[in-house]
């Protein structure tokens, strides 16, 4: 199958485009048409087979062990989506060649990302693997992020981009978990297999479906996650037309349509889909009605339509499925046509505000006619495709037709769809009126005529809306092929312009009549809109979430990251006591291990001398803790060290004792030199409770280790390995076992420790030498920045300040200006 190559073609084109744009300007977009156009040609050539039920498939292994493979499978639903994604894509890329100007900032980047998006979206709709779908899905989120933030100098664009990404990719994460759950329950990550043989027994299946629906709802801007879509309108209009009307936002609907044949009957799928779809339809339509910005009007219209699509795609009946295929295509065509129209208006007239546009219909009659056609399709006026679809949708929820749904629910949905359709008609009419009508109160603007090639894109898309409506039977085989798995009760519904005098036709007429009334009474509607209390905005919820997260993060981090070394060490000791320490207590309490007691030859000491030495150690330790002056503390510590050396000597390890005495002496001598440069008393030692806690922690840790040693020595299971050394001493060529162990049996350890010592020596030497050199550099005028940085992190007053916590998120600032790369000095 050619599809992987077509995807690769998208990627290659994307890589070449920045360079091409630099050479040829926006005309390079014409080349960008190539991959999507080739995809359309390819998919059309395979269409007869696909519609006949023989999907085009191919597969590339990626991570078979995890089930992450690039499996592709183009069936009827995918075919419809590919036509939409690549067909509309090709038209829009052509439009871009006229929309952008030579020398505009960042067009090369935009072109590349746009083509990458087209490829990613193609991947979403053509893959048969849940993980691969997720891969392409998130790629569309990322490219959408880059495209919304295209004009990155605007704060608004940066915010909208981040918000859209956090929402769609953030809800993508639960969806990923849902995919994994579904795949593990179903034993396969191939969508076609899961849908064909849905696992129904598992109690986790509803959880998986809810998680997946959450991701789909966020992507397809369902209420209450719809807020990101109007925000995304800061992107250039062709981007909005493509991503946020025709293609990307359909991703969620596509996923719902993809899974519906297998899972529509699993609770709570249908309830969720219908509830959220209906709410989205109504709220979107209602809000579209009050927008002044034509683009925002269309954006809320898109939200509303996405609710409609979700409803149809998820309802899980044959009629709804047929309607869903039609609606996916219909919406893609008319909405992108309308967006491109707004693009032309904005481009030529420099505004897209209804309050500032007048008389455009007379000046651009072709564009106006095209927009009127597209809007008619949106409003559901015959003979447009939108009408055909709306008929089917009404049919789907007519009492008695909605199999698998309680009659009450079907009636409620039908009412909702009717209401939303009326709103849709009203805002469609308002769009055409707002963009093109003569308005007495508005003065006309002068602007140059758009070129024919510029207008061609919206006109051609509107023409498609008209043609597919009039010739709806051409789309019918596609819809039938997708809807085949649903039970039609022997009477499958067909897409057609004329079904005879059905109840649905009557309802359509009613919608149009009330819609016209609503449009003519628009002043009254506006008054009601203004009078309505503002509903709690979902966007506020997003901001609340973000702010709460940052505030919480700041609070937690400022408390924990204190910057104090004694605290860090204390926590480590506490962990030591809490984990192994507590376990040891359990061992003692439950008596799992026999505590070695007096009965088994227990002795206090071997010789009384041990007692004396031990007393020395204990006394010096206690005295050290109580000492506030540095020098006496040092002397006490070394006395303790000598005490330990004495213990070694008493236990028959003179080598060890000797070494320790040497080390202790040396350390003490060095430290005495260091002390000369330090204050006489400890300034930073904890006092009061802090000190008591420290002493307690240390004592407890010591006790823990001592008791462990006591128990473990007693519980030794085997003879120690060291007994094996004596018989081999001769072989090793020596008599002194300690020497042999160090120099032969475990020579690698000794060598390693020598390396450690050598490294430490080199490090100290270099530090001392370098410090001298650096000081010279510093005196001859060091880099001021580095000085500042170093001083900043030195602040010990406010612990948080030393830690570079963000001030923006609430308060104390961090001047821990990062120390400059020392190398700049």
């Amino acid at each position: 199958m050619l599809l992987p190559f077509l995807l690769a073609l998208h990627a290659v084109t994307a890589v070449l485009l920045p360079w091409l744009v630099r050479v040829a300007g926006p005309r390079a977009f014409l080349l960008a048409c190539l991959p999507p156009a080739a995809t359309v040609v390819w998919v059309l050539s395979r269409a007869p087979e696909i519609v006949a039920g023989r999907p085009a498939t191919s597969s590339i292994a990626w991570v078979p062990a995890l089930g992450i493979d690039l499996d592709f499978r183009v069936d009827a639903l995918a075919l419809a989506m590919v036509l939409l994604v690549s067909g509309v894509g090709a038209v829009i890329f052509g439009y871009c060649a006229r929309y952008f100007h030579t020398g505009e900032r960042g067009i090369g980047r935009l072109a590349a990302v746009l083509v990458l998006f087209a490829g990613a979206m193609l991947g979403v709709v053509s893959t048969d693997n849940l993980f691969a779908l997720f891969v392409f899905w998130e790629l569309t989120s990322i490219t959408s992020f880059l495209l919304i933030g295209n004009d990155d100098r605007k704060e608004q664009a940066r915010r909208a981009a981040t918000q859209a990404l956090i929402t769609t990719a953030g809800f993508g994460l639960p969806m990923l978990v849902g995919f994994i759950l579904l795949g593990e329950i179903g034993g396969s990550y191939r969508i076609s297999e899961l849908v064909a043989a849905p696992p129904t027994a598992s109690p986790w299946l509803p959880v998986a479906l809810v998680l997946i629906l959450a991701g789909a709802f966020a992507k397809s801007a369902q209420v209450p996650l719809h807020y990101w879509l109007p925000g995304a309108m800061v992107a250039p209009t062709p981007v909005s037309a493509y991503l946020h009307a025709a293609a990307m936002v359909k991703g969620g609907v596509y996923l719902i349509a993809r899974l519906a044949p297998g899972f529509a009957d699993v609770d709570p799928w249908r309830a969720l889909v219908l509830t959220f779809g209906l709410a989205t339809m109504l709220i979107g339509g209602w809000r579209a009605l009050r927008q002044d910005d034509l683009k925002l009007l269309l954006a809320y219209g898109t939200v509303s339509q996405l609710g409609f699509l979700t409803l149809l795609a998820g309802a899980g009946t044959q009629v709804a499925a047929v309607a869903a295929i039609g609606a996916l295509l219909a919406h893609g065509f008319f909405k992108s046509a309308l967006f491109l129209t707004v693009g032309v208006i904005d481009h030529q007239a420099g505004t897209r505000s209804i309050g500032a546009l007048s008389g455009l219909g007379r000046r651009m009659p072709v564009l106006a006619a095209a927009a009127a056609l597209a809007a008619a399709s949106m409003a559901g006026v015959p003979p447009m495709l939108g009408f055909v679809v709306k008929e089917a949708a009404l049919e789907a929820f007519l009492p008695g037709h909605a199999a698998g749904m309680p009659p009450g629910a079907a009636a409620a949905v039908l009412t909702g769809v009717l209401l939303a359709s009326i709103l849709t008609f009203a805002y469609s009419a308002r769009f055409v009126w707002g963009a093109f009508a003569d308005k007495a109160a508005v003065s006309e603007r002068r602007f140059p005529h758009p070129s024919a090639a510029f207008v061609a894109a919206p006109v051609s898309l509107a023409a498609v809306s008209l043609a597919t409506g009039a010739l709806a039977f051409l789309l019918d085989p596609l819809a039938q092929s997708y809807a085949a798995p649903f039970d039609a009760g022997g009477q499958p519904y067909h897409l057609a312009l004329w079904h005879g005098p059905t109840p649905a036709l009557g309802l359509s007429a009613l919608v149009i009549a009330v819609g016209v009334l609503l449009f003519y009474r628009r002043e009254g509607v506006a008054r009601i809109q203004r009078a309505m209390p503002r509903w709690p905005d979902a966007e506020t919820g997003y901001h609340l979430f973000v702010h709460a997260t940052y505030a919480f993060a700041l609070g937690v981090t400022r408390r924990l990251q204190s910057g104090s070394l004694p605290v860090y060490l204390g926590v480590i000791l506490a962990m030591l006591l809490a984990l192994p320490g507590a376990r040891l207590v359990v061992v003692l309490v439950t008596g799992d291990v026999a505590a070695p007691g007096a009965g088994e030859g227990f002795r206090v000491w071997n010789s009384p001398l041990e007692g004396v030495v031990a007393l020395l150690i204990v006394v010096t330790a206690v005295a050290t803790v109580r000492e506030h002056r540095r020098f006496p503390a040092l002397i006490l510590i070394s006395a303790m060290g000598f005490g330990i050396a004495g213990l070694f000597a008493l236990y028959g390890a003179p080598d060890l004792a000797l070494t320790l005495v040497l080390v202790e002496t040396l350390t003490t001598v060095i430290l005495v030199f260091v002390l000369r440069r330090l204050p006489a008393t400890f300034g930073t030692r904890p006092n009061g409770w802090g000190k008591r806690l420290t002493v307690l922690l240390c004592a407890a840790t010591g006790t823990f280790i001592a008791v462990s040693l006591w128990l473990m020595t007693a519980a030794r299971t085997d003879a120690p390995v060291s007994l094996g050394y004596a018989p081999r001493a001769h072989e090793a060529g020596g008599d002194n076992l300690v020497n042999l162990i160090l120099a032969d049996f475990r020579a690698l350890d000794t060598f390693g420790e020598v390396v450690v010592l050598a490294t430490a020596a080199i490090a100290v030497a270099s530090l001392v030498l370098l410090n001298r050199r650096a000081r010279v550099v510093e005196e001859s005028g060091a880099d001021p920045l580095e000085e500042e940085g170093a001083a900043g992190s030195d602040g010990e007053g406010d612990p948080a300040a030393g830690n570079g916590l963000a001030a923006g998120a609430g308060g104390t600032g961090a001047d821990s200006g990062p120390a400059g790369e020392g190398d700049r000095s």
Binding site: A65, I180, L560, T717, L785
Partner: protein, 508 residues
């Protein structure tokens, strides 16, 4: 084979000696270091090829049969980590060389190369060691070298940071040593395979104490919450090449030690509940820290802590799939952390720091830099099609397979952490890379372009690009990588192959 096993430890030490002698000849020193690491890479490749099917090979140092002498062991896990580490070490070294050539780093002394190679030897020995005390020696070599490296180009901030780093490091070493003493007290041996066998007869309660003790010991160095505080206070302050290699490798060596000890020695003991709670705390608290930082290096350091939690999560599952997920995550994370810290080093060229407060519009200043940041950032956030995505899927899938309320809680924490990582990363992008560049950044760019240090800067950019490429390669080769990870995980959980390779006729 014996020789091949010794190479990753011995050759870097020879290289260290050579570069110490060559310190008056910078160019020769640079070539010697690079060649040394290239040899280690070649050797690791051979070792991986020999063990990829699950073979375990042991080599008795000095010819004394285990458990008398010291055993070096290479299994798929060790070979895989050796290869990835040595590749990252070489690339970071080349970056450092580029920086030295460019003259941007006069303050770095000539002992950098020897100490860096000693660090390499320590890392490799830690992976290869089949002996608990020798593992300690490997850690000590690595840590001593790291103490030396973190004080390179000392400023007051660096000295303060290295204080924290060194004292915490020594604390963990003391308890490591204590742990070894306790193990010897209980079993009378320190050979890992021998300990594994003899622990079987030891009382379960005491085994548990040891398991938890080693979890804490290595947990300090792996920076698991709440023993992570030292990391964000020390790593970001060091110079780029050093924070890059620390972030990439040092915590991962500790994670390796956790994997090795918890599977081989304490496979019978179930500390998974404790581990899962640690994983949850580490993931969440780490990433909360990343959200509120203003310095890119600090953001990356907190994210590093947080993502250690992902690895602990996988370990806590105590299943083949879980451990395989950890291994994939390890490889991914080593590469991605190194890349991001190198990129931060490139950012410093333009502004002299990495604070978000005064960096704007980097996409305009350097589009290439923007791409270099964007790709690994996606990977860090676990977004497809990067390696981070595959690693996360591996872990989540293992979690779902295992099931249970605590694991689902862990999964939820993982999802939240992923979301917060996304927020933290894209906050950096939106603030530092988007927007209108500050005038002094454009000036700095113009100055750098005029500067005489062009070759060195090219090398820095090229090595960073290579590192980004390695990240993409990890994603592209995720299939074979995952297969090796599964093989290694089966070996680890089974343990027999390891023990039989070290003690052919059973314990003496």
């Amino acid at each position: 084979m014996n020789l091949l096993i010794a190479v990753p430890f011995v050759v870097p030490l020879l290289g260290a000696a050579a570069t110490l002698l060559l310190r008056r000849a910078p160019r020769a020193q640079q070539v010697a270091s690079a060649v040394t690491l290239a040899v280690v890479i070649a050797d690791s490749t051979l070792l991986l090829a020999a063990t990829a099917d699950g073979t375990v090979v042991a080599s008795q140092a000095g010819g004394w049969a285990a458990p008398l002498g010291i055993t070096l062991v290479v299994d798929p896990l060790a070979a895989l980590l050796l290869l990835v580490s040595s590749v990252v070490l070489l690339i970071v070294l080349l970056y450092a060389i580029g920086q030295d050539i460019s003259g941007l780093s006069r303050a770095v002394p000539q002992v950098f190369h020897p100490i860096y190679l000693v660090l390499t030897a320590g890392v490799c020995l830690s992976f290869l060691s089949g002996d608990l005390f020798n593992l300690f020696v490997g850690f000590e070599i690595m840590l001593t070298a790291s103490y030396a490296l973190i004080t390179q180009a000392p400023t007051r901030a660096r000295v303060r940071a290295s204080m924290i780093y060194t004292v915490v490091g020594l604390t963990s070493s003391i308890f490591f040593l204590t742990g070894i003493a306790l193990v010897y007290a209980l079993t009378g041996t320190v050979n890992l395979a021998d300990v594994a066998e003899k622990l079987g007869a030891a009382p379960a309660g005491l085994r548990m104490v040891l398991a938890l003790l080693f979890l804490v010991v290595f947990g300090i160095k792996a920076a698991i919450v709440p023993m992570h505080f030292w990391l964000p206070d020390s790593y970001p302050v060091a110079i780029t090449r050093i924070s890059a290699i620390f972030a990439a490798l040092l915590t991962k060596v500790a994670v390796y030690a956790i994997i090795r000890t918890q599977t081989l020695l304490f496979g019978r003991d179930d500390v998974s509940t404790v581990m899962m709670w640690i994983a949850i705390a580490t993931m969440v608290i780490g990433i909360l820290g990343a959200l509120v930082q203003d310095d890119i290096n600090r953001i990356m350091s907190f994210a590093l802590v947080s993502h250690i939690g992902f690895m602990v999560f996988g370990l806590a599952l105590n299943s083949v799939a879980g451990i395989a997920g950890v291994l994939v995550y390890l490889v991914h994370h080593i590469v991605v952390q190194a890349t991001l810290f190198l990129v931060n080093g490139l950012i410093r060229q333009y502004v002299g720091h990495t604070s978000l407060r005064s960096i704007r519009g980097l996409t305009v200043v350097s589009p290439l830099l923007a791409i270099f940041f964007f790709l690994p950032a996606l990977s860090l956030a676990g977004l497809p099609p990067m390696s981070g995505f595959v690693a996360k899927v591996a872990l989540f899938q293992a979690g779902v397979q295992a099931g249970g309320w605590l694991i689902y809680l862990g999964l939820t924490a993982g999802v939240l952490t992923s979301l917060f990582t996304l927020m933290a990363i894209f906050r950096v992008w939106a603030r530092a890379f988007w927007g209108t560049p500050l005038p002094d950044m454009l000036e700095a760019r113009a100055e750098l372009r005029r500067g005489p240090d062009f070759v060195g800067r090219r090398l820095m950019a090229a090595t960073t690009g290579t590192m980004v490429g390695v990240g993409l390669l990890v994603a592209a080769a995720a299939g074979p990588l995952t297969d090796i990870a599964f093989t290694a995980a089966r070996d680890l959980l089974d343990g027999r192959a390891y023990i039989e390779a070290v003690l052919p006729e059973g314990a003496p």
